[in-house]
Symmetry: C2
Subunit: 181 residues, 2 copies
């Protein structure tokens, strides 16, 4: 099982791109479809962009939070999940310069973990880290969400709530790619 | 300035390998010299092994600890530093499965930050992360230390103290490469 995933915007892939928009900073080129592959994807001619991210250990959650998340969390790929979103974000140098306790305090004041928990199990989520894949990655995180069309309002609530937080003031690039099967 | 560094054991490099030994688990092949380069190193024929690691944000230190470290810390490469050590380690799956608060508690009980601080500025240190460079990296961390030959006893104290900690029970592979200019 690969921890690394490659997201390719282009002519191929199981997901159709419903919309692609820059939220903060530079957007990504338009692409009709999104392919999600475990590991490194082979290069093909019809690629608009390719992003990589790796599933890693928890950086902030406590044992209590972890147990609450594990009790409610669901894996991506349920048959009912006909909608998805890929949200690449980059955080500012000021964020990365904060020590661990101050980053955790921002997350707490932003109720980040609580917000994710509140929308489980309707909205499934997998976080991929990019920042430490190498020098010069365009984003720090890629989050992939999936949900049933009937839970679309819950997903919109979650995204709107996160974007209104103190934590999001540190986001200096964000793209929002909406997907349908 | 690259955050990524490549460590190449082979026929070339500024450092002479004084000793290379496996502490826990599989060792690395013998090599006469070590080359340390920023970024990705070009491939050459005379390479025994090549390890990569990336300098990243702090994962555990608080603001108070960070300020104490910044006040005492020194950069690698002082003219007086004629000795160095490269210590690649890997931690067990049990370590990576712990939530953040429990990993921090192990570090605290192990006095990891305090031990590093105690040996500053005699022993300079740079930590490189490998685990999230991709799938299947052989180590999780590469730590490079340098010091003057006259401070070798301080370095031996530091290494022995760390290896005696609770934290080190989670280390399932460790190699110790000692270097001289």
């Amino acid at each position: 099982m690969s921890r690394l995933f490659t997201f390719t915007g282009g002519a191929a892939g199981a997901w159709s791109v419903v919309s692609l928009s820059g939220v903060v900073g530079e957007s990504l080129p338009a692409a009709p479809r999104l392919d999600i592959a475990g590991g490194e994807a082979a290069s093909t001619a019809s690629v608009a962009w390719r992003l990589r991210g790796i599933v890693s250990n928890q950086r902030y959650v406590t044992r209590v939070e972890n147990d609450a998340l594990v009790a409610k969390q669901v894996a991506l790929g349920r048959p009912s999940s006909d909608r998805a979103a890929l949200i690449p974000i980059r955080k500012s140098a000021a964020w990365w310069a904060l020590p661990q306790d101050e980053r955790r305090a921002v997350l707490e004041r932003s109720r980040h973990i609580e917000l994710g928990l509140k929308h489980l199990p309707a909205v499934a989520r997998r976080l991929h880290h990019c920042r430490d894949l190498g020098d010069g990655e365009p984003f720090d995180f890629l989050t992939l969400f999936d949900y049933a069309e009937s839970d679309a309002a819950a997903f919109e609530d979650l995204v709107a709530a996160l974007r209104a937080t103190e934590e999001w003031r540190y986001v200096d690039r964000e793209v929002d790619v909406r997907l349908a099967r």
